[in-house]
Symmetry: D2
């Protein structure tokens, strides 16, 4: 019996996912995630993800991912800076400013430190060109940041923000995940940990509230089209890191 | 008995206005115009407008207006170029591209020719700094063009587009309007004529359709706030031209 | 003997100004300040500034200024967020992100607290519409932020950043400045104090370095035109607060 | 004897190229083309180009290219609309507005008609998702359009504008090019024809003049970095159309 993508997606849900991300299935984000269930499953259940869980992902793939993830993070931070510009309320402006400073002044440094642990120094990162996948994804979120309003932008960023939490929590709960001797265990801990999952949950709550204020229902068809694109770009990002392996 | 602004606005309506701008009172634009009735009346029934109608506006005021209107037109054209960038559909993209080329390649030239008739050559226009009113209004529409989506932008441009048609048509129908010997008669003819009023009607229809697709109802409070600002800036634009008279 | 504006500007210089802002007269910023000496003097030696110094500025003017300054600060913070987007180097990106978080997460709160000391609560600030001067100035810096590159943007922000430090330090050194019983003394202390003047000096140094990298010399005519506009808008901002007094 | 990329590039030059594009080797553009000679050769001498010339390119590759080229053209037109916004002079504004209307109101229609000749109707084009290559390239030029000034933007567009003319003219002059029975002959005629080559030459002249006014020399390192990226994206665009063949 073949499973529909939607069923496959539901099958992957786990109580710990509901506990840490209670809004994952509600509001605009829940609707987008359901309606792009096939693409979403291809992203959060990607071969790359399974390789992180059981530790079988080739180290070279992970290093390639880390470098491109760093270059993508720079674009993500720029897109968040656009959210400061596009905010309609002081509260949204403060949230966006907090995200920008968190990313640029703290997260980038942590990312660089983590890369160093993997033998990748800042010079190596700077010397690497963005891959086609990174250019496409970074270019797409910046274009939504420029062409649309805060809702278009926040939807474009949501696949990354929420998806990494879902991946982290799913791997944490998965009996197939190896902890001892898994070189990717600290990565899984980061994205399943309370700091990251709280950020992700807060981001989903904020997106759902913004959708109410900015007519998400009436604009749904276009938001879904953009969401699908970002989810495909996420999956492609991982495929890109595994190319030639 | 005092009239409410809304009553004052209705009193000003005229069958010829309905005939040339059938959508003026419908859809999102109709709602914005009604809910900002006080500001709208201060704009379309401004002392400057009455002075155009009966020909009593001092010539120096009109010349000052013409120069600043030219500088504003440049900003308006730039905002329309942003509409090409922000369009979601090929049809909207084509409409915006047509407006940009119409404004930059044709309208600017007509405006310059009209200014020359008033003794203002291009060098004089270039040498004049934008007034505070022009900077404020031009800056505001460009900011909406950058911070919002196509609906925010189109609302910000609508007060100018529709208001000038309403002014032109109202003056045309007003028995107080002088035709013979009125130095402003050709201006009134332009804005009450079929070319301009068709553009204005098409713009209102486009705005109302866009509002359906981009959640105008849910976003109404913020759209009204921006619309009020642009209407006040329009009235201020005319007040600025009459300063010191 | 009449003084040229440039002489008037030099006459205002003071050793304490050189000590706290050693780069004020060097590089691109020094050249802009010299070449716009007339406008600059009208700004930093404005009647409003003298009224702050000797305490004779009507309280109502200052309160009006405080409210508009708060609304302007929101635009300034948005423009700084654009600097995160436009940065070419990680170092510039970090500096801009630090400024955004400093402004939005800390400075706005301090500003609100200071306003409360003057009897202006947040609700009053939110309820006030931006004045024509605030719309014009905020709109102009956001437009430079969108239309230009990081150098255009940084020039547009420099008149505010450096000018307030010059005003603060000049007032601090001016024997005509009253300290005891001057309601504006704490304002003068803030803008002549080490925290603010260090920020201003660092901003000038950064602008001058950026000018080297982004062809400031070749682009000087246009940068000067924009700089003059912002300096005039600064002076107008103070005039606006004194209207009807 | 191994040829340097530069020598390879020079070897490809032909008198007809000089005649139709006299500015190809001068000014900022000439310098960029020389300094990115390796990437440039990989682009203009791509296997796809040779396949156009001798008619051996599989039809399926060309159709895939046509569809993606249409989707890219939409992004190119949006980037040109940003040039209207970013223009410093009325002349640049007019040139950009002319390009936008030429692209959106005329070129898109011609492209659609040409696609129909190849059995690709508008519905098929609309239904196709942009490839990774198209997203990456379109996203990159839009990002330069937003983050930089008019010079950054014009450099980002120059590889496409000038490169297609060089390709067309080189194929026209190449004895290996087949005319009779070559299904790509009309494509070659278009890009080697006087209409397109005049546009390309005018674009190079405009870029070189803009570089003088906006400090292209001082900014050269960053302009070259962006130019290299666009040239690589051009080559990748053709490789993408040939994938799996």
């Amino acid at each position: 019996m073949t499973q529909t993508p939607h069923a496959a997606l539901n099958a992957a849900l786990h109580p710990s996912l509901h506990a840490a991300l209670p809004s994952l299935e509600s509001g605009l984000f829940g609707r987008l995630r359901r309606d792009a269930a096939g693409e979403w499953a291809s992203y959060v259940q990607h071969r790359f993800v399974r390789g992180l869980g059981d530790g079988t992902l080739p180290l070279a793939c992970f290093k390639r991912f880390l470098v491109q993830d760093y270059l993508y993070l720079l674009q993500y931070a720029r897109a968040c800076a656009m959210a400061v510009v596009k905010a309609d309320t002081l509260d949204d402006m403060r949230a966006a400013a907090g995200t920008v400073s968190g990313l640029v002044l703290s997260e980038l440094g942590l990312h660089l430190a983590y890369c160093r642990d993997w033998g990748l120094d800042e010079a190596a990162l700077e010397a690497t060109s963005p891959s086609l996948e990174t250019l496409a994804y970074g270019g797409f979120i910046m274009d939504r940041a420029n062409a649309g309003d805060l809702l278009d932008l926040t939807v474009a960023l949501s696949a990354c923000l929420a998806g990494y939490a879902e991946v982290g929590l799913t791997l944490l709960a998965d009996p197939a995940t190896r902890r001892d001797g898994n070189p990717y265990w600290s990565w899984i801990e980061t994205y399943s940990g309370p700091v990251y999952t709280c950020l992700a949950e807060a981001g989903i709550v904020r997106l759902n509230a913004l959708s109410e204020r900015r007519g998400g229902g009436a604009r749904y068809a276009m938001l879904l089209r953009d969401f699908r694109t970002t989810v495909r770009l996420e999956a492609g990002f991982w495929s890109g890191a595994m190319r030639d392996e």
